[in-house]
Point group: C2
Chain length 439, copies 2
């Protein structure tokens, strides 16, 4: 035993390596595929809750969460109980939670789209009406991954969107309730909480039971059973993206304190062993300094074991040729979290096509965004930022097209529609349009 | 044989029927569930195309579309060929298609969201950057359901969104190419067309092959194999909603010509035997008149057989108590198409929470919206308007959160984040935030 730290085992790559592309692809590869056995168990649970409602929901909860409930009333948390949890928090926590909630609310209020319409010369009106979902279901993981911040991030956008009723489900393995989670539910405007989880909770939200009302959309992360169940009920209800492990890509120009960067990488890696933390820089000495900081600081972490495994399995320090190559790497990786720890981050924005959230400059640690900057921390993972967005107010609203033709407008459009409908051999369409053509 | 028409067999219900709720639920019930056999065949096709690329794609196309292609170059349609199809159309069709395309483009340009940001008192900047997908895949059904209007409705929003490359796939059963579909692709800004379909086309778009580039999102309707494949690749790529049969709900106050309404119902029913056409009114005599018009006009339809079966299986004329009950029915059904054939349709809008597209007044036949009014005809079916929207520009864009903390902002937010992170036992998060707190 010596005092010199154990190396973290984080991979060092350079884009000049002949096998760089392959190594990067391997590093990034992630597929949360459920095997046939998981699929079958989930199907059984969905079917049971769909047909037997509360009884099946209680049975499954007793079995998987090791409870002994005799009815859903024991798995229901009342509004006064939520308020009690909030009031019972230490003042510092209560204030921090309220401050975060307020900032999240302010940011999301900017996302609210407006209904619009316009009138054409002949009096025809076209537009789009925006309405909220009637009821949203928020899935909050239980046990060690029960995060009050996730309650805020999922429920506040729904509340801002104008959702009439917000239902939260959170499993309580061995009956353990997390007071911070309940307090956050109170603060975020959750209407009802059921302490159920897994595929059975997804089924209850999708189909409704005697006690749990059917919702219109289910959001929130969960384990492979939850993800498989969400995929199965998609269409019956709306769902958000199916989340993979969390990841960060930090780009540094060499000017940020290596210890800050090491800790930023740790903050991602400490989530779980599958989390991914990658640093890109064109400054080799800087990468050496960050690696040394990693080795030095690792033994000081509470979650050292998780961080070590995450960094060794999925982490990387990548040396690239320069800024242009760094930008290309960003777009290739399409990271959930992108930290631009550089001198002029604004100058990078036009080149960044794919990223869930962009943390700009040396002071914007990802952790600030995780809790309280305002934007959502539910973000597209595993490269899905190529086609999806942070959770937002728009996820709890939908649009209806508005078409109001004037008699003149209908007559003109009727001619076009008639021609096209006949071209598609849909003659009832054509005749329906032709009735509105003026002689 | 007499001259009196055969009754259509469309159901007559009133909301006063004791079993109305049950009958309505039965009528609306639709679940496009793929059985285990379909699932397995789709899995095999996905796996084959994923691992063997073009070779598997050609094999599957030959097999399912009865072709004898030897390579992907025979299943590729070039840009000059698309232009040739457009130029070769009769003038009337060409002009109608161009006019529809222009109106669709104008409407969708209004949907383009702007990036935004705001600066807080301490200099912290928060915002949202909107970017387009790099590459979109448009699935166009082949054979009898090959609709040029669908090409416009799927590709134009992608084009308006700023998608860099639009790939279209369309199967050609027995090698039959639809000139109108190719012409529409030319007009809508499609970059490349491959004449492949089914699960194999979805696989090619999701994973990429030697010839077909991997896309970021797949949109467009298809049969049960296509729907099953889309559900399976969801997460790997984005997908739009999984479409069920098309439906219309017409609400009439009794003031619209019964023949117009009959034809509006037919225009929906003629799509296929599973299509659904429902008329609601509080005027019993008016419903009688529409039913008589249905019986009278049915024998004049080219697609009489399909319409008869659709009306008998899934159609209904529903008498309700009045306007309030009609509004409640609309929200319960959450129709894909809603025709408000009433005197003051604007007065209804505030009560309508769920509908894909709203056709207002006696002149706005759904067929006008299907082709050329401007709004999209790809709409949420089977009650999914509860939580989803018409296809739009927003489906081809995504957002990135922007967070740029000033040193002062990071210091203040760091305190809040630190407290909350420690509450969640994520101490690396806390320490990352604490580095940014000023002494």
């Amino acid at each position: 035993m010596t005092d010199s730290p154990v190396s973290s085992g984080i991979a060092r790559l350079t884009t000049r390596d002949a096998d760089f592309d392959t190594r990067l692809s391997t590093l990034l590869a992630w597929e949360g595929v459920s095997d046939a056995q998981v699929q079958q168990r989930v199907d059984e649970i969905l079917q049971a809750v769909r047909t037997r409602g509360d009884a099946a929901l209680v049975e499954a909860s007793n079995r998987f969460d090791r409870l002994s409930a005799t009815g859903m009333e024991e798995l229901t948390v009342t509004a006064p109980r939520l308020r009690q949890a909030f009031d019972g928090l230490p003042a510092e926590q209560r204030e921090a939670l309220a401050s975060a909630a307020e900032r999240i609310r302010l940011y999301h209020e900017r996302q609210r789209p407006e209904s619009w319409h316009y009138t054409e010369a002949d009096g025809t009106v076209l537009g789009q009406q925006v309405t909220a979902l009637d009821r949203a279901g928020i899935y909050v993981p239980g046990g060690k991954a029960a995060y009050p911040s996730s309650v805020l991030m999922n429920a506040i956008p729904a509340h801002v969107a104008g959702v009439r009723e917000i239902i939260m489900v959170v499993p309580t393995p061995d009956g353990v309730l997390n007071e911070l989670v309940l307090a956050a539910a109170h603060l975020a405007g959750v209407d009802r909480v059921f302490t159920v989880g897994g595929a059975q909770a997804v089924a209850a939200l999708a189909y409704g039971t005697e006690t749990v009302p059917r919702v219109d959309k289910i959001v929130g992360p969960g384990n492979i059973y939850v993800a498989t169940a969400k995929r199965a009920v998609f269409g019956q209800v709306g769902i958000d993206m199916i989340a993979g492990p969390s990841e960060i890509l930090v780009v540094s120009d060499g000017g940020t304190d290596p210890e800050w960067l090491a800790m930023d990488l740790f903050s991602q890696a400490e989530h779980d062993e599958d989390a991914q933390a990658i640093l890109v820089s064109w400054d080799a000495e800087h990468l050496d300094a960050v690696e040394a900081a990693i080795d030095r600081l690792l033994p000081t972490l509470e979650r050292e074991g998780i961080v070590r495994e995450s960094l060794a399995r999925r982490g990387a320090l990548i040396q690239c040729a320069g800024r242009e190559e760094a930008a290309a790497l960003i777009n290739r990786i399409a990271p959930e979290h992108l930290e631009l720890s550089v001198a002029n981050p604004e100058g990078w924005l036009p080149e960044i096509r794919h990223a869930g959230a962009i943390f700009m400059g040396r002071y914007t640690a990802e952790a600030l965004g995780d809790y309280c900057a305002g934007p959502n921390h539910v973000l597209p993972t595993s490269g899905t930022a190529r086609f999806s967005s942070p959770l937002g107010v728009y996820d709890f609203q939908k649009r209806s097209s508005i078409i109001h033709c004037s008699p003149e407008g209908a007559s003109e459009l009727g001619k076009v529609a008639s021609t096209l409908a006949r071209g598609e051999s849909l003659t009832a369409h054509a005749r329906s349009a032709e009735y509105r053509i003026k002689e």
